[in-house]
Amino acid sequence: MVADIGYGVIFIAFLVALYSVGAAIYGDRTKSAGWVESARRAMLLLWPLISISAAALIYLLVTNHFEVSFVYEVISRDMPTYLKITAWWGGQAGSLVFWSWLMSAFASLVTLRKWDRDREFLPWVIVVTSLTTAFFLALVVFYENPFAEFWRGPDGKLIADASGNAIKSMFAPMLNASLAIPTDGNGLNPFLRNPGMIIHPPMLYLGFVSFVIPFAFAIAALITGRTDDRWIRITRRWTLWAWLFLSCGLVLGSRWAYDVLGWGGFWGWDPVEIAALMPWLTGTAFLHSVMIQEKRGMLKQWNMLLIILTYALVIFGTFLTRSGILSSVHAFAESAIGPAFFTFIGITFVGSIALLIYRWPDLRGETEMKSMLSREALFLLNNLLFISVLVVCFWGVVFPIISEIFTGQKVTVGPPFYQTATGPLFAGLMLLMGVAPLSAWGHSSLKTLGRAIWKSVIAALVITIFLFFTYTANPIALVAFFLVAMVILVTLQEFWRGTAARMKAQSENAFTAFWRLVGRDRRRYGGYVIHLSMMLMAIGILGINLFQIQTQGTVPVNSSLSLGGYTVKYDSVAQFPGPDGQQVTRAVVSVYQGNNYLGDLYPRIDYYPTEKQNMTIPGDRPTLKDDLYIILVDWQPTSTNGATFKIFVNPLVNWLWIGAIIFLFGIIFAAWPDRDAERVPARSHHIHQPDANQTGAAD
């Protein structure tokens, strides 16, 4: 009954979404405000409808309705309630409902707040957001129905297809069939039970769906011909929040990998990771290049292209992880949703590009570059580098599929390819982070830049020489540390210069001057905080990638392994049942540095009997200098050999996590709404000067 309600309501939501699209198009074509308003209200109805369906699904999960196939696949009786709720996005069908639910929430937010200020955009924003929601709802309704149930025939046997797979459907597949209710479910994949993994997918999805909003406004701008920067000003904060969510998702995913996967690293250049990184790359390029349009009226065509690419990559990322194409092209061909996704991406991408080509002449810049060292030129170079990283990532993910199609041979594109290809590109981006903040909009010369940067360069060189004598002679590390030092010094210098200027001009004390400086231009100084945090993260990434050491050995009780100045003594091991139905094998090891006892660590293996899966949870000792990371690789109760441990010393890696926290703070700082939200735009409009009601930027 509850499953029927859930499915029925989501089917209605799908119809409402389609109506919303149709009414918005008809309303715009016939200039009928009534139809557009009807479309808006239909779109507002989507979120409550999908919420009802989601509530039904959660109810089924929490109350162990194993006759529902999705419930059977993702939970088991022994799972705690909070995990049963989060299992909503732990399986494919549920995650599509979750995607639609978030999408409808964001679409509602757009049309609830100050929606009547941009009436010309409204119908097309509704079309894009409702169409995207309708697509995901269609996947749920027609292909991946989380409410489908198992059935048994009159003979009491489970009804299955010719291959022996149980048939899942909303309605009885034969006369006198009744619901088949398994006694227990498969349970959630143990890897998805970690707190990091519980929050990580919602954050990624939030990032994905919120990038749909700027795309919707961009398409609205293209269709209506309003090609000034109005759409960018409206969506500026949406973009920043989208970037925040996506960044947060990536950071959480990295931390989860470090804590749970037990391989001593945080980023494996795995296609699923790259699928989430790709829209982040174009989103980051977009965040920089929109500033050029706002300040100089340039790169309108490029900004449109970037947001179209970001949207396409959002859908492509979901497609990659949901279609089965990463496993094999055969899995894709057999997958119900794979071809549907592929068609949707193709149609939306080609349609968007066609619109962009149609409006191309109207999107010419109002001014052009005057100097190769101007800030806009450097931002453009920054965009080139971000897109270059994207090219490497995209090709690395797509190539195995192409290889399989054309040669029948599956290949793996692993970390060596990505590291070698993206390393110089990231170095170029770091260099730009150091130089660009010192260049001016419009024009800069080598002389002015040189004068602004020379002190930081000299100081960074001194630091690098110091590191050469005290820490490393690795040339790649030294170049990278030089760039890190330079960016940090340039950024701090920018903070200091502004504060000092205020102290002098306004006679303020240092604290007040600093506070007001950053408060008056949060976007700029938030950006600097982000740059600083990126450099801290770079220190961590360099540390673990260039200086990680590891060893593995089997030792009896009271024996030890040594690595990087640490001695790890194996004290004992114990087995006991865990709180989540798992069997825990936990070792106790004591850690020494020389003769100094530093404490005990508890690496463990959690075995989930229902899923027949092991999880290796490391014991780690984080310091600013390094992270001692110990994995219990093997221990057999019957063996007299002792236990096998793998020990990593990951130098500087904790700067990555510190940087990540500051990074997220920096984005929130930059994106937080202004008290005077209705500010006058910074740059005069040359095209389509908005009327008095419309000049207020929703930034």
Partner: protein, 179 residues
């Protein structure tokens, strides 16, 4: 006036002269960096190989069964057996290349952490640098065209001086202070 123009032209030429090598260096770096990652290993026969020696080779191989998991960290029983096999092969004096070759023959090239440099696989190494170089060239040409002295765009740029926004003014002011 013409002297001033000459000096401006000279300045731009200097900037172009510097920007061009930077771009070229960056792109050359890219090409070099994108070259196939190749290591040559010479393995001595090891009577009792340590876990570290086994892992060093296993890390360069992917689990033939699991998705995107290196063989050295894969927790499955099958992978444990494959690691034991590597240990056995090392103790029999197999070289690293021979061991990798054995896994390729048994399970296909997908066990390698990057495609071998043959046939269609060359595309993985060639295409990104070509696209990036093309992008860099287009960008450089566009920048040169935009910043060419006396061009229409430069003229429109100078016209734009009248509509400078407060940000530009502020940055210029800051730069003046730095002088």
């Amino acid at each position: 006036m013409s002297k001033m123009q000459n000096s401006k032209t000279q300045g731009r030429k200097t900037q172009n002269a510097i920007a061009l090598p930077i771009l070229l260096a960056l792109t050359c770096g890219l090409v070099l960096a994108s070259q196939p990652y190749q290591k040559v290993f010479a393995q001595q026969p090891v009577p009792t190989p340590s876990d570290d020696q086994v892992n060093q080779i296993a890390h360069q191989l992917y689990c033939p069964v699991c998705e995107d998991t290196h063989l050295d960290v894969c927790p499955t029983e099958a992978c444990r057996q494959w690691r034991d096999l590597i240990r056995q092969q090392l103790s029999q004096g197999w070289t690293e290349q021979q061991i990798k070759q054995y896994f390729v023959q048994q399970y296909g090239v997908r066990v390698l952490d990057e495609p071998p440099q043959t046939g269609l696989n060359w595309l993985i190494y060639i295409l990104p640098p070509v696209i990036i170089l093309a992008g860099a060239f287009i960008l450089f040409r566009a920048l040169r065209m935009w910043t060419k002295p006396g061009s229409a765009s430069a003229a429109s740029g100078s016209k734009d001086e009248t509509v400078k926004d407060e940000y530009v003014a502020r940055f210029e002011e800051e730069l003046k202070k730095r002088k």
